[in-house]
Amino acid sequence: MNALQGDLGWSQVGKEPVLKAILGRFPYTLELALYALFPVVGVGIWLGVKAAVKRDKFLDHFIRIVAIIGWSFPDFVFGLLVLMIFYSVLGWFPPGNLSLWAEQIVKSPNYLKVTHLLTIDALINGRFDIFLDALRHIVGPVITLSFLWWAYLLRITRSSMLEVLSKEYVRTARAKGVPERDVIHKHAKRNAMIPVVTVAGAMVIGLLSGTVIIEVIFNRTGIGQLAARAAVELDYATVLGTTLFYSIILVLGNLIIDILYAVFDPRVRLS
Amino acid sequence: MMNTNSTINRTFSEQKKQEVLLRIDNLVKYFPIRAGVFKRIVAWVKAVDGVSFEVYKGETVGLVGESGCGKTTVGMTLLRLYEPTSGRIIVDGEDTTHYFLPKWKAKRYVEKVYLSRFKNNNFQPVDELDRKYFEIFKNNGEEGLLEYLIGDLEEKRLKFRRDIQIVFQDPYSSLNPRMRVKNILAEGPLAHGLFRKSEALDRVGRALEEVGIHPTHMYRFPHEFSGGQRQRIGIARALLMNPKLIIADEAVAALDVSIRSQVINLMMDLQKEHNLTYLFISHDLSLIKYISSRVVVMYLGKVVETAKKKDLFEEPLHPYTKALMSAIPVPNPEYKKQRIILQGDVPSPVNPPKGCYFHPRCPVAKPICSQERPELREVKPEHYVACHFPGSL
C-alpha cells in the first residue's frame, strides 16, 4: 500500500529513502542507455539491411559471424575486456562517472543542473572540459552495452528484410524498372521495419537491465549498480524498489512502442 | 427404438414412415467478435441462425449453400466441435444437446428445457421427445428424469462419438502428418474399446481394403499417399467407429474431378453395405443432385428450402434455390436456359438484413420481404420453403 503512495521504504545501501535513491541515480543510467541506443539502432539496422541485400555474399557471412560472436559475448566478459584494453593498457576511458576534479565542480552549488544528464548539463554550463570528461567516462560502458544489442537488432533486421525482399510487390517494383536503390530504401526497408519495431520492447528491456552489470564493471553510480549492491547486501527494499521502477519504465516503453508501431504500420492505424 | 406414438400422425407419406436418426431443432450458433482492451464482445457473427431439419435412417441428405452460409458450422456444431448457442440436437430419439457440457451446465439445460415446462400443470407435450421424457418424469419424478438425461454423461459422450463421424474436406490437413496410418486408424476404436490391441492390425487392414487401399500400406505416413488415397483413409477412420451417421464436409471438394467420382462411388457403396446415413455438406449442386435423397438449402445461417431431391430439382420454389440451379452447367449446347445472376454480395452475418435475409438480392422481392421474415412452411407435401412468394421466380 505504501508503495502506491511512492513510499518504497528506507534504502540501507543508499542511506536515504528508496525512491530518492532511485531518482537521484536514474539520470546516470538513462544517459548510458540513451547513448547506447544510437549506435545500436543505427549500426544494427544499417548492417542488417546491408547483409540482407548482399545475401550469401562474403559481406553477409562476415556480418553474420561477427553478429553471432557478439551475441555470444557475455556483457561482463566484454566489459572487462574493454576496461582492460581502454583503461589498463591505453588509459583512455577510465571507470566511474567523472574525474575527481570535475566531480567537485559538478557538486558545487552554483553548477546548474537542468537535465541531470552529465554531458548535457556540462554544455548548458558552458564547461566543455567537463563535457569531454563525462564523455570519456561514458564511452566504455556505451561500447559494451551497444555491442551486444546491435547484434540482436542486426539479426532481426536481416531476416525481416529478406522476407520483404521476396515479396511480390518488391518483385513488381524491380520488374517495372525501379532503380535498385529505391527498391531497397523506398519499397523494402519501410516494410521491413515493422517487426524491428516490435522487438524494440525487448531491446529497451535489454538496454536498461543490461546496465546493471555494466554499471558494476565501470563503477557508474546508476540504479543498476544500486540494485546490484543492494542484492548482495540483502537490502530487500532497495532491490524491490529498483525492480518496480524498471518494470514501470518497461511498461511505459512498450506503450511508446505500440504507438510507434501504429506510425510505421498504416494497417494498425486504420483499425 | 422409437416410441410408437411418434409415427402415428406421420403415416400420410412413405418417407415419414422411416425412422428419424437425427433431428436438429432450431439450432443457433453465434460467434462473438471481441475488441478493445478488455476484449469486450462488440457483436455476434450469426453463423447459424435457427436451423431445423431431419435426417432419416439410411438416406443421404445434401446440405447446400454458398461458402459462408453456415453449412460447415452446422456440421461442426452437430459434432459438438462447437457448442451450440441454443437449439436441440436429437439423435436416435434422445436429446444429446447437453452431452458435452459440464455436469452443472447440463443439469441447468435439462431444468430449463424440460423440467420447468413439465412442472407446469397445464403442460402439453409438443413433440414425441416431450412425451417420452414427460412419461419418465411422471413415473420417476424429477430425480429420475435428471438421472436418465445426465447420468453417465461420459458414457453418453463416447456413444455419441461412435454414432456420428466426420470426413473432412482437406485430405492434407485431416491426417496427422506424424502418425502412421495404422495408428491414425486404430486410435479411435482402441480408445472406445471397439477392438483389442491384438486385433488392431487385422481390423485396420480390413478397413483399408474396404476403401481400396492395400493393407500393407498401413505402416506408411500420410504424406506417402495421394489426395484421393488420403480421403479414403479418412473414410476408413470414420468407418472403423461403426457410425450411424457420417457427416461429409465438402469431402471431395479438394480432389481432382477424375478422382472425385471414384470416392463418391466408394462412399455410396459403403452406405449400402454398412447401412450408413450421410449428411453431405457441399456447395456443389451437381454433386448433391447425384448422391442425395433429400436436400436442405441454406442461405446466411438459415434454411430457405428443403425437399426431396426430385421435387427440389424439378420445381425449386425459393428464388435463391432457383438462382443456384441456373448456375449448374448443363452439358448440352442445344439447351438454352435462362440464367439468373444474383446481384450484390452475400450480406454480412453480423448484420443480416431486416425481413427476409435474401430480399436485397432477390429479383422478385416485394415490400413485405424487407419487413417480415418468412418462416419455413410446408408449401407442398414434404416441400418446405421460407419465402413469402414461393415459386414466383
Binding site: 559471424i65 553471432i68 551475441w71 555470444s72 557475455p74 556483457d75 561482463f76 566478459v77 572487462l80 576496461l83 583503461y87 589498463s88 588509459g91 577510465p94 529478406l162 528491456i205 536498461l208 537491465s209 546493471v212 552489470i213 558494476v216 564493471i217 540494485a227 546490484a228 542484492a231 548482495v232 530487500y236 532491490v239 524491490l240 524498471y246 518494470s247 518497461l250 511498461v251 512498450n254 | 476484449k39 459434432l79 463416447l158 462419438r161 456420428i164 466426420i166 473432412f168 474436406q169 492434407y172 490437413s173 485431416s174 491426417l175 496427422n176 502428418p177 506424424r178 502418425m179 491414425i184 486410435e187 480408445a191 472406445h192 505416413f221 500420410p222 504424406h223 506417402e224 477412420r237 467407429m241
Partner: protein, 309 residues
C-alpha cells in the same frame, strides 16, 4: 492447407546440417565441451596439493566443485608450467575452467529443461483450452515478462538467499514465458487443423490429443528456441555469480572467477595487461560455450524451420 513436412526428409536435413560450416563448428565446440565435462576428473584432478595424506599423496577433495586454495597469495599469478592458465585468489584458473564446464552444463541444461517444460505445460493449456483460462494465463505471462529477467532473478535470489540452487530457481521462475508463448501460438495454429478436429470427433481425451496430435506438430520450434536460450541462460547465471549472487566464493564457476578478476583490473590504470589471463581464460570458455549453443540453435532453426530464418 500446406503440405506438412514429411519425415523422410529427416536424412536430407541431416545432410543439409552437415554441409553448413557454422553448424559443424557449433557441434564440434559442443562436443569438445561435453568431453571436457565428462573427463574433468582426469583433465584436472580434484586433489589438494597443499594437503597430503599419510602416504605423502595429495588428498582428494570432498567436493571437487570447490576450487582448492593452493597458495595464500591472493594476487593473480601469471601462467606457468604447473598452472597453465595462471592463478587468482590462490586458486588454479585451469582447474576452475575445466570444472566450470560441468557447472555451466548443469545450470544450463537443468534450467532450460525445467523452464521449457513449465512453459510447454502453461502454453499448451492456454492455447488448447482458450477462453478465460487462456486470458488469465497470458495476463500472468505478461506480468512476468514486464519484469526485466536479470532484476527479477536478483529479487528472487535476495529473497531466497544466495547460492547456485537459488539462482537456478529464480531463472526457472522467470524463464518459462518464452516457451509458453511460442507453444501457445503454435497450438492456436495447429488446433484448427482438421486432424485435431478429427481426433476430437473420435472422442479422444484432451490429454492424448495434446500429447499425440498437437505437441508432436508444435514442439520443434520450442526445442530450437530452448537450445538458443541455453547460451543466454548460462550468461545470466554467470552474470549473477559475477555480481556475487550466485555460486559461493571459490566455486568452480566461470562467472565467479571473473568476479575475482574485476577488482584487480579496476585498480591498475596504465599498468598494461598484467592480469590478462584472469579475464581471458574463463571469459573465452564462456564465450565459446555460448557461441556453441547459439551456432547449434541457429543451424537447427535454419534447417528445421525455414520460416524463422
Amino acid at each position: 492447407m500446406s503440405e506438412p513436412k514429411p519425415r523422410s526428409e529427416f536424412r536430407r536435413m541431416m545432410r543439409k546440417l552437415l554441409r553448413n560450416p557454422s553448424a559443424i563448428l557449433g557441434f564440434s565446440l559442443l562436443a569438445f565441451f561435453v568431453l571436457v565435462a565428462i573427463f574433468a576428473p582426469y583433465i584436472a584432478e580434484p586433489v589438494n596439493p597443499q594437503m597430503l595424506d599419510e602416504n605423502g599423496k595429495p588428498m582428494r577433495l570432498d567436493n571437487p566443485y570447490i576450487m582448492p586454495v593452493i597458495t595464500w597469495s591472493s594476487e593473480p599469478i601469471p601462467p606457468s608450467k604447473e598452472h597453465p592458465f595462471g592463478m587468482i585468489q590462490g586458486r588454479d584458473i585451469f582447474y576452475g575452467v575445466v570444472w566450470g564446464t560441468r557447472t555451466a552444463f548443469y545450470i544450463g541444461l537443468t534450467v532450460t529443461l525445467i523452464s521449457t517444460a513449465v512453459g510447454i505445460v502453461i502454453g499448451s493449456i492456454s492455447g488448447y483450452y482458450g477462453g478465460w483460462i487462456d486470458e488469465i494465463l497470458m495476463r500472468i505471462t505478461d506480468v512476468f515478462l514486464s519484469i526485466p529477467f536479470l532484476l527479477a532473478a536478483m529479487v528472487l535470489t535476495t529473497i531466497l538467499g544466495n547460492g547456485l540452487d537459488k539462482v537456478m530457481i529464480a531463472m526457472v521462475v522467470f524463464g518459462w514465458m518464452g516457451a509458453a508463448r511460442l507453444i501457445r501460438a503454435n497450438i492456436l495454429q495447429v488446433k484448427e487443423e482438421q486432424f485435431v478436429l478429427a481426433a476430437k470427433a473420435l472422442g479422444i481425451k484432451d490429454f492424448f490429443i495434446i500429447l499425440r496430435h498437437i505437441l508432436p506438430n508444435t514442439i520443434f520450434p520450442v526445442l530450437i528456441q530452448a537450445s538458443m536460450r541455453m547460451g543466454s541462460l548460462v550468461i545470466t547465471a554467470a552474470g549473477l555469480s559475477f555480481l556475487g549472487l550466485g555460486a559461493p566464493l571459490g566455486y568452480a564457476d566461470w562467472g565467479s572467477m571473473l568476479n575475482f578478476t574485476r577488482n584487480w583490473i579496476l585498480g591498475t590504470s596504465g599498468s598494461s595487461m598484467t592480469y590478462w589471463y584472469a579475464v581471458f581464460y574463463p571469459g573465452m570458455a564462456m564465450v565459446l560455450f555460448v557461441l556453441a549453443w547459439n551456432l547449434v540453435g541457429d543451424a537447427l532453426r535454419d534447417v528445421f524451420d525455414p520460416r524463422l530464418k
